[in-house]
């Protein structure tokens, strides 16, 4: 499975049309075939970053399915849909990503809804991490061995879990780069993180925060909120 991750810079005045274009166009159009499905539609939470930014994640069966989809967009039946999209967004930045070896299992494409979903929004923390040159594989291994299990510990500071861990496919984005989609299950814990300094035991020697500084010291977190109709919560 591969994942197309897109960060859309939406025309503010046309934000509702943009959302409808994806909900009523892209999602059901993909649902007519077996190559790909929209997995998530998320708004970047206002107050936490840039305005009118949307993240979509589309799951694609494999490399040949990706190329078929790309060709449909460039010169096939999806070209008109793409042309209309151009008027609704200033631009989008896309990446094609592969799951990390330890990423949790992802549903079969057939299990992803292509309409009819209406539920309470879910919050995600999407972390994009840039390991130091030559440290990508070690970062991936240690994040799987140390970081991911630490989130499940009973005394974990944050109540969240990695639902998808991703790295860039060759030539389809920036590298070295890793993206971790964390599903948040406690808003108060998030607010604690935002409003209080990290305790020393979280950042001191022996902690993941401290030891992983050998592997990276730059990452970016985005707080994303799923749309009520997003196929995955």
């Amino acid at each position: 499975m591969l994942f197309i991750h897109q960060f859309h810079k939406v025309v503010g005045r046309r934000a509702a049309e943009f959302e409808a274009h994806v909900r009523d166009g892209w999602m059901p159009l993909l649902g007519e075939g077996t190559d790909a499905r929209l997995a998530w539609y998320c708004d970047l939470a206002h107050g936490s970053g840039l305005a009118y930014r949307v993240v979509t994640v589309t799951a694609v069966r494999d490399g040949p399915a990706y190329l078929r989809l790309a060709e449909r967009m460039a010169r096939g039946d999806l070209r008109d849909w793409a042309r209309e999209l151009d008027g609704l967004q200033h631009e989008s930045l896309g990446r094609v990503l592969a799951p990390l070896p330890w990423s949790p299992p992802f549903p079969d494409l057939e299990e992803l809804a292509t309409g009819g979903v209406d539920r309470e929004p879910t919050l995600y923390m999407e972390d994009t991490v840039w390991p130091f040159p030559g440290r990508l594989r070690r970062y991936v291994d240690e994040a799987g061995a140390v970081y991911r299990p630490s989130l499940a510990a009973t005394d974990a500071r944050m109540q969240m879990s990695v639902v998808l861990g991703l790295e860039t496919m060759p030539g389809a984005g920036r590298s070295p780069e890793v993206t971790l989609m964390h599903r948040l299950s406690s808003l108060p814990r998030l607010l604690d993180l935002l409003t209080q300094d990290l305790p020393a035991e979280t950042t001191g020697p022996g902690s993941w925060m401290h030891e992983a500084l050998d592997l990276r010291d730059r990452w970016r977190s985005r707080i994303l909120r799923t749309a009520p109709w997003s196929p995955l919560p």
């Binding site: 197309i4 190329l67 631009e91 896309g94 070896p101 040159p133």
Partner: protein
Amino acid sequence: MLFLHETHRVIGRHAPAFEGLVRDEWMPALAVDDDTRLLWYLNHAMGSGPAYEVVTVTALSDGAAWEALGHRMREGDLVDLAGRIDACRHEVEGKLLLPVSWSALQDVDLATVPTDARTHGLTVYMQDTGWPDAPLDEYLELWDRDYWAVMRRTPPDQRLLDVQACFQVAHGSGIRPEAILLQQVVHVPTLGRLLTSAERHDPTTWPGTYMAKGLEIRDQWESKLLRTSAWSPLW
């Protein structure tokens, strides 16, 4: 066919090691099958932009070949080599490209692409990347109708550029809307005049021409002057 376009921000101190790894190990490693080939290795000409920046273009026969390359790099025979190359650069920014319908370059016979680092003279390319305000298709139509067609009608002895390929970014692998022209500089003295005679290209002095029409749908593009290495498979 897919074209994998990568811009490598090389660690200056490791620049010779980076080039050596790509030339002596990466290029032959890609060539173990006939579905993937390194096509171009281009240095961004110092004095015209960022230092220690390299552009490579790799051709892949299909989506399966691309997926297989990713698998080799993540958990196959290329893990170690990819790691050593990675250690020689700050980062790499990649995108997948599809040729537009009128691009001269559509398919490459991969079996004929050299993989033995044979040397040759150097060639300079002008790579133009444009970001229209209008739908991408309108930009590509403008390039075809008002740029490429005009250039083809220009007598060979008056040409600055030969458009070798025009690409759009494959869905979800980079910026949309974005399109790229890969153009060989065929007359360096004319390039000199372009750099020094800005008034010749002022759109207000060329009503009805490409430069004026272009402003109706875009005013942002970037030209990069790229010089092939002496061993680049294509040049």
